[in-house]
């Protein structure tokens, strides 16, 4: 047995440098696009330039004549279809769900939809020939915007007769989890505060750095697909389910995958088409998208209109919250597209003790790219709405935004707490996280500086933004998913193989693409089994190796997948114990396991677990009635979610003359329960923060009136650079989760969820004395400047006029209560 003397007593909690780095920093990578196979052909897609059109003819003859073109196919060449992009979560039984085929033959429902594929010897030849495919379209009227779609005047899918896909509601009075929200609002109208706000969650693009790529090799007994995906297991299942191929004949491999953020949580038309072409030709085939194709045709995120009505007593104690969403799903209901906004149902009430609550979500179809999970998926949208309106309540009551939160949040001693939406929050300490964040931020000093700048009329004003978020993570208890009609479970699987040489293989059903599971899982197993960190190999992302799993998204990997690893390790120990007793000729009850060794209590006799692995390999001497071997599998299905939380504080300088904003300081203290590897956690938080900040300040997917994506390249879709961002102050407080034995909570999405409202709140806070109470995201200098100008020109008139949001006639603006009221009363 190997002994490492300088091994720390516990791996969990260490800043272990990552195992996965070595290959990535030396360029020895396995991206899908790196794969070359003998005889491999290359694909280029012919995509619709129109948002909505009938295809009248497709002439492929010129393309077929081009040099080294092997084939050109349209949908007509595949009369039995190519499979389908399934919706796995119909949110209501009546949901309107248009068929989503990989390639269309009659009508395109959004720009970028695929109408033909060109196959050639090289990718460049395929792309050149794709230009020669001549498609005639009859352009149809297109509906692009969610509120427009609500009118049902122009239909995204005329055969469906409506753009409305589904309506989903949660009402605390009906569910028995709280009071009646209409009564709460009516009471506050009499004697209290009612605040109505409309917020826009603009459309974003996940923009993972590795463009999607798929290689299919049909020449083996199993058809093998390498693909840049977060969900190899789900993809394999859905290929089988929609093409009729036997699942056992399909192997899906997610090799190195360059980021996902939800954007690779999809089964894509391109994957199905590459599979169909490879099988038709009997040759390996590759498709790699260009960045422009990726921005146009990989799924988008967010895109909601939110209408919030909050009621409170005069002192600022919240009494009710009513939420009405219109969520633009794009042209099709993507794999979990309809469900993403619904996840907000349990999050708008956030950390506050609302006695009455109602959540209404209307999903609509439009002629735009389909919308699905993007980092946070439903939770950033909800957190934004509630954290913005809590600031409005603070302004209305005239107190500090942190004071209004503290007045209404769940106190530490009240955990576990069942929310008005019916969720049980496992643990938390908002007081501790907030106190620490204020200290690190220098909250009081910055407030003093803000007052001084206001006093002196400094053209550069200072704003302080607050966001005290929580989120639900660890998707998900399978029974809960079943009750929501989700098409799969939420369990995760792990296997541990104890190799005879003392090395350990851990097989996980999660599918990392940057999260560092290999390192973190090794730390967990090293501690549990008492083996060196270096001796643990983590295998994943290949359905032939990790045959069972539900993959990586929704901050689930550690809290569900990590727990499965723990349970598999415990089974290994349990199995090994019988062998240890036999080999030591001791009673199993007299054995203790620690540091990788079974010892007989009160003696110095003992045997290492890796020695037992070797002994079971030889199997010359083992207990009667047992199978030789101590390998074990485990599947973990969580009983409940876990609820991380945190306090984020942002200081922003706003130049009132130019609209320029400059971030001075960003502090966050997140409580994510026990931490396996602080280094990885910090990295997750940093990356999450910048994605959330980018939504607040820079990013937006914009269509022109014809439905052409204007932000179709990295020139126009402005991801932040190093020069746009600052260094952050991040820390943790620790309230261990009670829903898994490691006590961990998810962290992958926390930064993104919390930061967007903190940033917008900071800008609004800087400008509130001008009568500004909102700026629509992204808060570009131009928008900030315009808000300042229009506020100035109204000279202190009501903010409703200074900040017109949505058209009064638009459905989202209909009064949610019984009587029409102004904004703040």
């Amino acid at each position: 047995m190997t002994t490492v003397d300088d091994r720390p007593s516990a791996e969990i909690g260490n800043r272990r440098l990552r195992k996965e780095d070595q290959r990535l920093i030396t360029g020895r990578t396995k991206w899908t696009d790196n794969i070359t196979l003998p005889g491999m052909v290359h694909l280029a897609m012919v995509r619709s330039p129109f948002a909505h059109a009938r295809i009248t003819s497709i002439d492929t003859s010129a393309a077929k004549e081009a040099a080294n073109v092997i084939a050109v196919y349209t949908a007509a060449d595949f009369p039995d279809g190519m499979g389908a992009c399934a919706n796995a979560w119909p949110i209501t039984p009546e949901q309107v769900t248009p068929d989503h085929l990989p390639m269309v033959g009659e009508r395109v429902a959004c720009a970028g939809e695929i109408v033909a594929v060109v196959v050639a010897r090289t990718a460049a030849q395929a792309r050149d020939a794709a230009e020669l495919v001549d498609v005639d379209y009859d352009v149809l009227p297109a509906v692009l915007d969610g509120l427009e779609a609500m009118k049902d005047e122009v239909l995204a899918h005329p055969d469906k007769g409506t753009n409305k896909s589904a309506f989903w509601k949660l009402d605390s009075a009906e569910a028995g989890t709280g009071g009646n929200v209409e009564e709460a609002i009516a009471a506050a109208r009499e004697d209290g505060i009612v605040i109505k706000r409309e917020y826009r969650q603009q459309r974003l693009i996940p923009a993972f750095m590795e463009p999607r790529s798929t290689v299919v090799d049909p020449t083996g007994e199993q058809v093998t697909m390498w693909t840049a995906t977060q969900i190899p297991h789900i993809l394999r299942f859905l290929i089988a389910a929609t093409t009729g191929m036997p699942e056992s004949k399909i192997r899906v491999i997610a090799p190195d995958v360059g980021g996902g953020f939800g954007g690779k949580l999809q089964t894509t038309p391109e994957e199905f088409i590459t599979l169909a072409v490879a099988r038709r030709l009997g040759k390996p085939a590759k498709y790699t998208e260009t960045r422009s194709e990726s921005l146009v045709s990989a799924h988008h995120g967010r895109d909601q209109y939110q209408k919030l009505t909050l009621s409170a007593t005069k002192d600022g104690t919240v009494t009710g919250l009513k939420v009405e969403l219109v969520a633009n799903l794009g042209a099709y209901v993507a794999i979990v597209g309809g469900g993403v906004p619904v996840l907000g149902a349990w999050m708008f009430n956030a950390i506050y003790k609302f006695p009455a609550y109602q959540f209404n979500c209307q999903t609509v179809l439009t002629n735009t790219a389909w919308v699905d999970a993007y980092r946070g998926a439903g939770r950033p949208e909800a957190t934004f709405g509630i954290e913005r309106i809590m600031d409005e309540l603070a302004a209305e009551v005239g107190v500090d935004p942190l004071a209004i939160r503290e007045k209404n949040w769940i106190k530490h001693e009240e955990f576990p707490f069942t929310s008005v939406a019916g969720m049980t929050y496992d643990s938390g300490n908002y007081e501790a996280a907030t106190a620490r964040a204020k200290e690190l931020f220098g909250y009081d000093e910055l407030r003093a500086e803000q007052a001084a700048r206001r006093e002196s009329g400094d053209p550069v004003q200072l704003g302080i933004g607050v966001s005290t978020f929580t989120e639900m993570c660890g998707l998900a208890p399978s029974r809960v998913l079943g009750s929501l009609s989700y098409g799969a479970g939420g369990w995760e699987s792990a296997s541990i193989r104890m190799l005879p040489t003392g090395k350990v293989e851990v097989i996980t059903g999660t599918s990392p693409h940057g999260q560092g599971h290999e390192t973190a899982w090794s730390q967990i197993v090293a501690d549990r089994l008492g083996v060196p960190f270096e001796d643990v190999e983590v295998l994943h992302g290949d359905t032939q190796v990790a045959y069972k799993g539900l993959d990586t998204y929704g901050s689930r990997s550690l809290v569900v997948g990590g727990e499965a690893v723990v349970r598999a390790a415990d089974k290994v120990i349990e199995k090994a114990k019988a062998f240890a007793a036999h080999l030591l000729e001791a009673n199993a009850d007299d054995l203790e396991f620690s540091g990788g060794r079974f010892g007989v209590k009160g003696t110095d006799q003992g045997i290492g677990i890796t020695d037992i692995a070797l002994a079971t390999f030889a199997s010359h001497n083992y207990p009667e009635g047992l199978e030789p071997g101590i390998d074990a599998d485990a599947t973990f299905d969580p009983d409940d979610f876990s609820f991380p939380h945190g306090t984020h504080l942002c200081a922003m300088e706003v130049d009132t003359e130019t609209g320029q904003t400059r971030m001075r300081k960003y502090v966050c203290v997140d409580d994510i329960g026990n931490v396996i590897n602080p280094l990885i956690v910090e990295g997750q938080v940093h990356g999450g923060l910048v994605q959330g900040i980018a939504q607040a300040l820079w990013e937006e997917a914009v269509y022109d009136e014809n439905g052409t994506l204007v932000t179709g390249s990295f020139v126009d879709y402005t991801l932040p650079t190093a020069a746009d961002t600052i260094s952050f102050v991040t820390e943790n407080t620790t309230s261990p989760s009670t829903t898994n034995t490691l006590g961990t909570k998810g962290v992958g999405e926390a930064g993104t969820i919390a930061s967007t409202p903190a940033v917008v709140n900071s800008i609004v806070d800087a400008l509130r004395p001008l009568g500004i109470h909102d700026i629509v995201m992204p808060c570009t200098p131009e928008r900030v400047w315009k808000a300042i100008q229009s506020a100035g020109s109204h000279d202190g008139e009501t903010t409703t006029e200074a900040q017109p949001h949505f058209d009064e006639a638009a459905p989202n603006n209909a009064d949610p209560g019984s009587t029409g009221e102004g904004n703040a009363q």
Partner: protein, 165 residues
């Protein structure tokens, strides 16, 4: 077809190529140097960054014929005899990568920053990295890594042996 002779990571190659071929395509498709990757089609992301005669270029923005007679270093040529370049080590030690897709370009650009600024400020590092996009790290640890590498001897040199690592 045009004939070019290029030195890449210390090895000399002679090939007949199409004049329109980009350097990044030549590296990936002709030479199998797939450590250098493509992240965009508008020269915005910097994932493809290599060094041409010792200075960083976006290899999607250079024709392969322009590399004729010149010296190219890619991410695959940095570590010598199994010894990491100081910039590679700094990326590892500072957790400056997550998915790793931007990493080859970031490391090559990080080295280039140190040529101009041997003791860079945070501001200089951030501006020096402006042409390289990362979606995972939020840049925080990449900036830290470049600053840390600057403290190593000869970190601006193009191979770990020259850097005395």
């Amino acid at each position: 077809m045009t004939r070019i002779t290029v030195t890449v990571d210390g090895d000399r190659y002679t090939d007949d190529i199409e004049p329109r071929m980009l350097l990044v395509q030549y590296l990936r498709e002709s030479l199998g140097k797939v450590g250098t990757v493509i992240g965009c089609d508008t020269s915005n992301c910097g994932a493809c960054t290599v060094h041409l005669d010792g200075r960083s270029v976006k290899s999607c923005n250079v024709l392969a014929v322009q590399a004729d007679g010149r010296d190219v270093t890619t991410i695959e040529g940095l570590a010598q005899d199994g010894e990491l370049h100081p910039m590679q080590r700094a990326f590892h030690e500072n957790h400056a990568l997550q998915c790793g897709f931007c990493t080859p370009g970031m490391i090559m650009q990080g080295i280039d920053i140190l040529i101009d600024h041997p003791e860079p400020t945070e501001e200089q590092i951030r501006h020096g990295l402006e042409g390289n996009l990362c979606r995972c790290t939020g840049y925080h640890n990449i900036v830290k890594a470049v600053a840390a590498a600057a403290k190593a001897p000869n970190a601006a040199a193009l191979s770990s042996s020259a850097a005395g690592a």
